[in-house]
């Protein structure tokens, strides 16, 4: 991919950064610089992937313009001050560089470009950029100096004054910044520059940069291309056009469907054999190139002269000679004056604020959260040191608890000056802390899942959901399939089934199988949905949503007064609690945020169903038959069933309990009662409608059989309990011994699948051994895939005879492990049936893994 990009000279998008980032390398810190800033876009494009990779220290340094943009959107901003630091940097000119520096333990990834951290900058403008991985010590040390300098400008670190020379990124590429001297003065050029290509959206009014270039190479032909929509095409600039200097504009106007805004800045100084290319943030202007008023960052790249041409092709843009009619004068609206900025941090409950002015002895501090004022406090005793004023104050616990997301601090000094800034919540900054915060929340639920309230359960599931969504989004993103699935036309499976099975009129293996499948795979969305609306049906618990006016007219609390605390039947409770405890311990023991993310994404559906079922059960106002049947069934399934990712039924939830944990439980009375209840339920179900071979319920029962089974008295008592819960008359006394025997004779789905797999292996072995007689092979094929598919399987296998290679595919695998091709939907759908055999395009035969 890299080679391909290089041949075509292609810049980078955020996803390329994460593609380049070696999977084995965890990002340790990341620093971004930008002029304009969109917090939403940054979060989407860089922050979330970085957090998922466990990056601890993330900072964004922006020009006051970008900082102002974030404050303007404060009501909806996410993650500032909690997941990353946002600081503005004051400079003589503009803080204009667009730099990405991501450090891992052994390397650094450096992105330099023209695009800001905004949607157009990262996605829709025509921008230039370059991305490097560097790992030599001298390079890394210099990058460290650069990062320190920038962080010190943003007052994140102590003042650093060590100069930052050009940093050699590759033999032929250097990173140059304007921190210590103007960009132009640091560039190296071929000795014989005869042609100069300049692309820049902005040119200074006096055309000083163009003049400087023109005078340095008085014989060189210069072609300047600029997008007039940025407003820089002036009459005086057009006057520069001559035989030697040509000025071009895009042939077509800028439209949504047509060409993009050309915001990239690219300068090519071309000699006979060699060329110097400059690409990055610097415009063709005095502040951009000729002074160090602005902060700018560019890459200077040497290449062969004949390679330059491909760089001059701007995506989706053609050029023509500019004329006076192309001018688009832009009257910029001056807008309101920017406010002063306060740097604020919250360490536990101690709020510290500092600002640059030495004015002000006291004033008022206001904390805003999601666009709302949540706290106001008067302060005095401002401490002065050099050019900074500082004040510290303790927040009340009830205020502190509310600061769960990005908060703005507004300070009005007694001299009338107004300052604004994001509060950096140091306990939350860095994913390590973030993970701990989530653990505190999870801890509260998992420690006592049955007495947590509905809101907490919703939050719990939402948390799981976010993790899952993000995990799948990331997977799709990095697989390059993001956004494609929606446009893909649905492919319909051609696997034959009996049409009559599509009548779902009660009973029937097809519907039963899928009903269970659907129950297990129930989406979290539906679970959430049900939870939210569940309370509507609770007629015994009117929700008093009261307005408690605190008297200040500014804040009203909704009193979430709920509820009668129902309890799950004790028997189920024990299993639930153990599972939740185990979940908590797993997360607790995770040694990195990435491990937490991975683990959470792997939590089986049954655990999520447990959260759901627990809440449902708890809130039942009375024993209503329909609900009880449904929810009891759900709980039973939840306790015993495998997760969504397990088509081959790897393991039940009880099996998931670790041995030691299971050992503890199996000795307990409550666990015994739980097992008795579940066994009674399954046996009664079997009595009502005898299970058929291949039944998944039998698998559940088999899991149960691994535990110590209850004695007959306990089982009978449990059966009475179950019958009563299900609203059935308990006057008939089932013969459990006979039911157990009858149940033992049923072959569960899992066992049936194993039998089928053994038959398949036998069939293949015989084919390898040269057997071709249908009479011998046919019965084995039928045993392997059933009557309906035996013939087609046999035909297929005989065709390949001695070359048959079978690969087992795990349930979460969506690509062939031999040729790495993503399975077509038809194959995926086919592999959903654990007994099916599919064939990959590369020729290998695919079967679902049955590993437990």
């Amino acid at each position: 991919l890299t080679e391909l990009k290089m041949r075509r000279h292609t810049g980078y998008q955020p996803k390329d950064v994460f593609e380049a980032l070696d999977e084995s390398e965890m990002p340790v810190s990341a620093l971004f610089t930008t002029y304009t800033f969109s917090p939403g876009t940054f979060r989407q494009e860089y922050l979330i992937p970085l957090l998922h990779r466990g990056c601890d220290e993330i900072s964004v340094l922006t020009d006051p313009i970008g900082y102002g943009q974030s404050i303007f959107s404060a009501a909806t901003v996410q993650s500032i001050g909690t997941d990353y630091r946002l600081r503005q940097v004051q400079s003589d000119g503009s803080f204009h560089g667009k730099l990405v520096v991501i450090r891992t333990r052994h390397a650094a990834y450096v992105g330099v470009g023209s695009g800001n951290l905004t949607a157009p900058g990262l996605q829709t403008n025509a921008e230039v950029g370059s991305l490097y991985r560097v790992d030599k010590n001298d390079q890394l040390e210099l990058l460290e100096v650069l990062v320190k300098r920038l962080r010190s400008l943003a007052l994140i670190e102590e003042k650093a004054k060590q100069p930052v020379p050009p940093i050699q990124l590759m033999d032929d590429a250097r990173l140059i910044t304007s921190l210590d001297s103007p960009i132009f003065d640091q560039l190296g050029f071929p000795a014989d520059v005869s042609r100069i290509e300049l692309i820049s959206p902005f040119v200074d009014g006096q055309q000083e940069a163009v003049a400087r270039i023109s005078s340095r190479w008085p014989k060189a032909r210069i072609r300047l291309r600029l997008d007039p929509d940025f407003g820089a095409l002036s009459e005086s600039l057009l006057d520069l056009a001559s035989e030697r200097v040509s000025i071009q504009v895009p042939s077509e106007p800028q439209t949504e469907e047509g060409r993009p805004p050309v915001h990239g800045k690219l300068f090519c100084f071309i000699g006979k054999n060699a060329a110097t290319i400059v690409l990055g943030s610097a415009n063709l202007s005095r502040p951009g190139l000729l002074t160090k008023e602005n902060f700018e960052a560019v890459v200077e790249r040497r290449m062969k002269a004949d390679e330059v041409e491909s760089l001059l092709s701007v995506p989706e843009t053609r050029w023509r000679k500019a004329s006076i009619d192309d001018r688009k004068p832009v009257t910029a609206f001056a807008g309101p004056k920017m406010l002063g900025v306060v740097i604020a941090s919250l360490h536990f409950r101690r709020l510290k604020a500092s600002w640059s002015s030495s004015l002000g002895e006291g004033g008022t501090a206001k904390i805003w959260f999601r666009g709302r004022l949540i706290h106001e406090i008067q302060f005095a005793g401002v401490a002065k040191s050099e050019d900074r004023s500082t004040v510290e104050m303790d927040l009340a616990a009830k205020v502190f608890e509310k600061l769960t997301g990005p908060c703005l601090l507004e300070i009005e000094l007694d001299n009338g000056r107004l300052l604004l800034g994001w509060i950096e919540v140091t306990d939350m900054l860095g994913m390590g802390q973030e993970a701990k915060r989530q653990l505190v929340f999870l801890d509260a639920i998992t420690a006592d899942p049955l007495s947590c309230n509905e809101k907490e359960v919703v939050k719990f599931i939402e948390h799981l959901q976010r993790r899952l969504e993000a995990a799948s989004r990331n997977a799709a993103y990095f697989a390059g399939s993001y956004g494609k699935s929606q446009t893909k036309k649905e492919e319909y499976d051609t696997t034959p089934i009996s049409r009559r099975d599509l009548l779902e009129l009660g009973g029937g293996s097809f519907s039963q199988f899928f009903a269970l499948e659907r129950l297990l795979n129930r989406s979290l969305d539906s679970a959430l949905h049900d939870l939210r609306f569940f309370s509507r049906d609770r007629d015994d618990q009117p929700l008093a949503t009261t307005e408690a006016d605190r008297g200040d007219g500014k804040e009203k609390l909704r009193n979430p007064t709920r509820k009668v605390q129902g309890r799950l039947p004790l028997k189920i409770e024990t299993v639930l609690t153990a599972l939740f405890d185990q979940l908590k311990e797993k997360i607790d023991a995770a040694d990195s945020p990435a491990a937490v993310a991975t683990f959470v994404s792997q939590i089986p559906t049954c655990i999520k169903a447990l959260a759901f079922a627990a809440e449902k059960w708890k809130l039942l106002p009375e024993q209503r038959r329909e609900w009880l049947i449904r929810f009891f069934h759900k709980v039973a399934i939840a306790c015993l069933a495998p997760g969504i990712a397990c088509v081959a039924r790897r393991s039940g939830a009880v099996r998931r309990l670790e041995e030691t944990e299971r050992g503890k439980l199996t000795g307990g009375t409550e666990f015994g009662l739980g097992v008795a209840t579940l066994e009674a339920y399954l046996l009664l179900d079997h009595e009502r409608q005898p299970l058929r071979d291949g039944s998944f319920n039998k698998d559940m029962y088999d899991v149960l059989r691994e535990l110590r089974l209850p004695d007959s008295t306990t089982l009978a008592a449990a059966a009475v309990d179950v019958q009563s819960l299900m609203g059935e008359a308990g006057d008939t006394r089932p013969n459990f011994e006979s039911l157990r025997l009858s149940m033992a004779a049923v072959t569960g789905e899992f066992a049936a699948l194993r039998g089928r797999r053994a038959a398949l292996n036998d069939l293949i072995n015989r084919l390898h051994d040269g057997v071709r007689e249908t009479a011998e092979l046919r019965p084995i094929a039928e045993a392997a895939v059933g009557l309906d598919e035996a013939e087609s399987l046999l035909r297929l296998l005989v065709e390949h005879a001695r070359r048959i290679r079978v690969v087992e595919v795990s349930s979460d695998q969506d690509a062939c492990s031999v040729c790495f091709t993503v399975f077509p939907q038809v194959v995926q759908s086919r592999l959903n049936r654990a007994s099916a055999v599919a064939q990959c395009n590369c020729g290998v035969f695919l079967v679902r893994s049955l590993d437990t």
């Binding site: 000279h9 292609t10 810049g11 390329d16 593609e19 304009t36 969109s38 939403g40 876009t41 989407q44 102002g68 943009q69 303007f72 909806t76 949607a119 157009p120 921008e127 230039v128 370059s130 590759m170 407003g231 993009p260 805004p261 990239g264 690219l266 491909s310 092709s313 995506p315 989706e316 832009v330 009257t331 609206f333 807008g335 309101p336 666009g371 709302r372 956004g483 036309k489 319909y492 696997t495 034959p496 009559r500 599509l502 009548l503 779902e504 009129l505 097809f510 519907s511 899928f514 499948e517 949905h529 609306f533 509507r536 929700l543 949503t545 007219g553 009203k556 038959r625 329909e626 759908s829």
Partner: protein
């Protein structure tokens, strides 16, 4: 080893198409609707699809033998097409009009071409009719328990089989029916033959009885608990009876938002419908509040587009618009509380602003908000806030109770602050957040803020927010419980008779429970 992973012009992502929920405010409304009218969508206008669709899926299953998901889809497509052709033919002959025909655009085009054979299945026919039409096949038929979906298969459930068996007595016996099950084309004459039988507005008497039973959850579709949909339908019938003249869905929605009946009088529903009434009032108010946010955003968008000035940032654009909207207005009070007070006891503001100029729009948007605040401050409004569904959408900061709290806080301040909240916190800021999240899906950006200042996209449609009242009234008229004319819907004697008998049924059920 050092490496260069990119150098040059970056590939461009297109990102300015228009999504309809550009402020992320649809979720609470959709969530409540799903709970209240499970099985009904904004696209389910024609009741007869509830009987015809299960019939052909049942027919497919009853053919016996082997089939596949692909085969089943092709089978169904043929009948979707046949129903569309038949209805278009009927409308053509009778010179009538009707909405809600699935696959209408394509079939109408083919019908008007005048060819003797028309495509039914195969390459020429698209897989799904349209995203909106597909909604019928998604939630509705499954939630009404008529069909099930397992993977790519549609199954026919008991409820669907009840319809199918009834319809098959007539439709299944039509000459040439067997051939249509696999045909890739159909003759015009055959379509004309089916036009009478498949016309969506003329179910047979028994079919109509079954459709009514389905919508109102009565025998043979009765379940132990009545679906919330039944309360909603009865509520609509009750409200419909209060109008002296024909009414439209939007009249009904305004009545709900105001707490009045169709004649403008105070409305108090039958006690058993009280919960449903309050929830529908919440929906109607949420619709208005969402509209006010979108209108305010649209005002800023228009301001950016139409201004000769290039605004540096969204803040500049918003603040300039707000200042100008307030200063140029003669009737706008300086305090938001006064504005709310002025709108107390007035009729609901119109959906559309008097003029589509930015200042008018933003003032109108604020008036809608203020009117909702005034309604919520009344006693009946406070009752709404006590409902659980008033907090639906709280996690997205889009719930009614959240709106009320914020509007209450704004009362003490000047109108400009309330306007800023509406334009910025509810509009621009949400948009930037939502759009950034959706960009990866190639969705929505309507205002773009970057180094060259603010740009507005060329298109910014304001969505018409549907809360299914329209489709429910249409379904009620399809089964003959409301009469529809050019002016709108009208209650009839049958409306009252049906309403009374079902209210009685509710009471009986409550008594039994």
């Amino acid at each position: 080893m050092s490496a260069e992973n990119g150098f040059g012009w970056r590939p461009i992502t297109k990102g300015t198409s228009s999504g309809l929920d550009f402020l992320g405010l649809a979720v609470p409304i959709e969530g409540i609707l799903d709970a209240e009218t499970s099985g009904i969508t904004n696209a389910t206008f024609r009741a007869r699809y509830f009987s015809l669709v299960p019939w052909y899926y049942w027919k497919y299953a009853m053919r016996g033998g082997k089939g596949s998901a692909r085969d089943q889809r092709q089978f169904a497509i043929g009948f979707e097409m046949l129903i569309a052709y038949a209805n278009i033919a009927r409308l053509d002959t009778t010179e009538s009009t009707m909405t809600g025909i699935i696959r209408r655009d394509f079939c109408e085009r083919k019908w008007k071409e005048g060819k003797t054979t028309l495509p039914l299945r195969g390459d020429e026919v698209g897989d799904t009719p349209s995203p909106t039409d597909a909604a019928l096949y998604g939630p509705s038929l499954r939630r009404l328990n008529l069909l099930g979906r397992h993977g790519q298969f549609q199954t026919c459930r008991k409820g669907g089989a009840i319809f199918a068996e009834e319809l098959d007595k007539t439709l299944g016996k039509v000459d040439g029916f067997a051939r249509l099950m696999d045909a890739t084309t159909v003759n015009r004459e055959t379509v004309e033959l089916w036009a009478q039988k498949l016309y969506l507005l003329t179910p047979s008497k028994r079919e109509n009885e079954l459709l009514r039973a389905l919508l109102f959850g009565s025998d043979p579709f009765a379940r132990e608990e009545l679906a919330p949909r039944v309360y909603t339908m009865l509520l609509l019938l009750d409200l419909a009876r209060t109008g002296n003249t024909a009414f439209t869905a939007s009249d009904m929605e305004v009545a709900l938002a105001s707490g009045l009946d169709l004649a403008g009088q105070s409305f108090r529903p039958e006690a058993s419908l009280g919960g449903a009434y309050r929830r529908w009032r919440i929906l109607a108010l949420l619709k208005l509040l969402r509209h006010s946010s979108e209108l305010a955003f649209y005002a800023v968008h228009t301001h950016v587009r139409s201004s000769t000035i290039r605004f540096g940032t969204a803040q500049h654009a918003a603040e300039e618009l707000i200042a100008s909207a307030v200063s140029k207005s003669k009737g706008l009070p300086k305090s938001f509380e006064r504005l709310v007070g002025n709108l107390k006891d007035t009729a609901a503001p119109a959906w559309d602003p008097p003029k589509y100029d930015p200042e008018e729009m933003v003032r109108h948007a604020l008036s809608i908000c203020a009117w909702c605040a005034a309604v919520l401050r009344t006693d009946s409004g406070k009752d709404l806030l006590a409902e659980d569904v008033a907090t639906v959408g709280a996690h997205l900061d889009a719930d009614l109770a959240g709106y009320f709290e914020r509007l209450n806080e704004l009362l003490a301040g000047p109108t400009t602050v309330a306007m800023r909240w509406l334009c910025v916190d509810r509009g621009l800021a949400r948009h930037f957040q939502v759009a950034a999240r959706k960009l990866a899906q190639h969705d929505t950006f309507r205002l773009i803020e970057d180094e060259d200042g603010m740009r507005a996209t060329e298109k910014c449609p304001i969505p018409n927010i549907a809360i299914r009242v329209d489709s429910m009234l249409s379904l009620l008229s399809d089964v003959g419980l409301l009469r529809i004319g050019d002016e709108g819907y009208l209650a009839t004697a049958e409306t009252t008779q049906w309403y009374n008998s079902h209210i009685k049924r509710l009471h009986e059920m409550a008594g039994c429970g």
